[in-house]
Symmetry: C2
Subunit: 317 residues, 2 copies
């Protein structure tokens, strides 16, 4: 089946980015909000994405023929594709996307004839379930439903969708025009055609679709990131090395742009404490993770929570 | 104390890189080999490093004022330091280093008046111990001894050095003029002055010294890399996703230049099998790691061992 009309439910930070990326790449996109208030909050977010795209396209000529171009990967497949003509074409897409994007609070208008719903509402399982129950009788029979949920699994939601074979997760990172990753994860009875169609849609909006073949909490990215951070936290807990040296060692040794403690500053120490607290070995105060948890809590109590508070393991102006 | 004369024991790939980096940065450097044959094998390695430096310096003007310059970090502290005058100065250093580097098989000549020994001989504990016993009565009382060992701990060698307070590890990555990491790890009675002196020496040869405050197998880098690879292998063992998707997901999501399976191809599947086989959970064939180990062994049996065999998870021309 072909996707033409897309409705994004929820106009939060990520909902706005997803809706805009789809519109920019030529899809007919509607943002549905549950109230006029939520639509009014979505519009400035869309304005911000539009401004980001405008600025990126103004800067794009500098990447033409550059040796290490740091260009938006969702705009160009390859550095060889960057030329003035292509940039002008994308500028037109950008203006058209901004002009054509639709907003509605009306369920019929939003969902009656869309081919793909991307659900990006609040990360509360009851709200998501209620949403799917509310729209299931409005949708076309062959509509595809994709949730951007970060923490739930498709099997926790599928029974509320009315058409579970056509339900899956499509999970985006932040800042998706550059960090162009879309994790595609079905449950055990999602149809193969639906997975293929959604993977192709992701490609069509400039994303790399990483196919997750079985339900897996944390998708792929967090399944790797969490053990990496845990390993760094164990070194910190055991006082093997200072966070700055751990970060520099990892960055130089692996070529990664961020060290584990820079990542913790981005994630926020409170979230890291919450995740670490669930580990069995963190409950023993003499273990490396137990000692790390204690140190993290001491830093949190001092307000050193990361970028959001202006200081974490590093200072942010 | 001040380091002026440096002897590198062993002229293997890394010994040659370390000796050359020290000579390039103005130290008086001798390479000691156990036989004329080992010296003859060291010389072409030094030639190769000299050629690499020469080529890097030819390319260096392109980094002047560049936005994302991918310059050798051990040559310049910051992109702002890259200018034609500095490049000319480094070219002179390069010629001088190549010309002045000394080679000897004579123990007195190599070790009697050196301030710092960097031991980079074969990774065999008995050979290392015998080496330290052989030189301990030749060295000056205040000479510092640093081992580049990847797998042993300083406490396994210290009692053979004759002066354990002045013994520590200084562990380099490969391709050190770009991957400019030096892990500094003492044992429990290495003197603070020795650690500070060696860290400063590392800085002086363009390295970032990551200080490891307590003995830790795997230093910092491998303590983080191994759990990262294990997490990726568990996803692969459980057939959650294909290696290519795991790699792309991690690269886009984290910004890292290499995915876990690209790294496994670099490390070589046999080494990864050896390391994974020591894990308790890999002994259970129904566990994710057990299943991953089985798959790795099947690939190894087919000769898909990584870059060294031309094909691993990816093909290499």
């Amino acid at each position: 089946m072909e996707i033409k009309k897309v409705t994004v439910a929820g106009g939060g930070v990520l909902g706005a980015q997803i809706a805009y990326a789809a519109a920019f790449h030529g899809f007919d996109v509607t943002i549905w909000g549950r109230s006029e208030g939520s639509i009014e909050r979505a519009k400035p977010r869309i304005n911000k994405v539009y401004e980001t795209y405008t600025k990126e396209l103004e800067l794009a000529p500098r990447y033409i023929g550059a040796e290490f171009p740091n260009y938006p990967r969702s705009f160009f497949d390859d550095v060889k594709d960057i030329n003035l003509e292509k940039i002008e074409e994308l500028k037109k897409n950008n203006e058209k996307a901004y002009k054509d994007l639709k907003y509605t609070v009306d369920l019929e208008e939003a969902f009656a004839d869309c081919d793909l719903v991307i659900e990006a509402i609040a990360e509360k399982v009851d709200e998501k379930r209620a949403f799917y129950e509310k729209i299931k009788d409005i949708l076309k029979d062959d509509a595809i439903l994709a949730s951007n949920s970060s923490t739930f699994m498709p099997s926790m939601l599928k029974d509320f969708t009315g058409n579970k074979e056509r339900f899956l997760h499509l999970h985006f990172a932040n800042n998706i025009h550059r960090q162009n990753l879309a994790e595609v994860m079905g449950h055990d009875t999602t149809s193969k055609e639906v997975i293929d169609t959604v993977a192709q849609f992701a490609r069509d909006i400039g994303m790399y679709p990483a196919i997750i073949k079985k339900e897996n909490p944390g998708y792929i990215l967090n399944s790797i990131l969490v053990p990496l951070l845990d390993a760094a936290l164990a070194l910190y807990g055991d006082d093997i090395a200072e966070p700055k040296d751990i970060d520099m060692d990892w960055k130089i040794g692996s070529g990664s742009p961020k060290g584990p403690f820079e990542m913790i500053d981005i994630i926020g120490i409170t979230t890291v404490i919450n995740v670490t607290s669930t580990r069995e070995d963190a409950k023993d105060p003499s273990s490396p993770m137990g000692k790390a948890l204690k140190k993290l809590k001491e830093r949190e109590a001092k307000g050193l929570k990361g970028i959001e508070t202006g200081e974490g393991f590093y200072k942010y102006k």
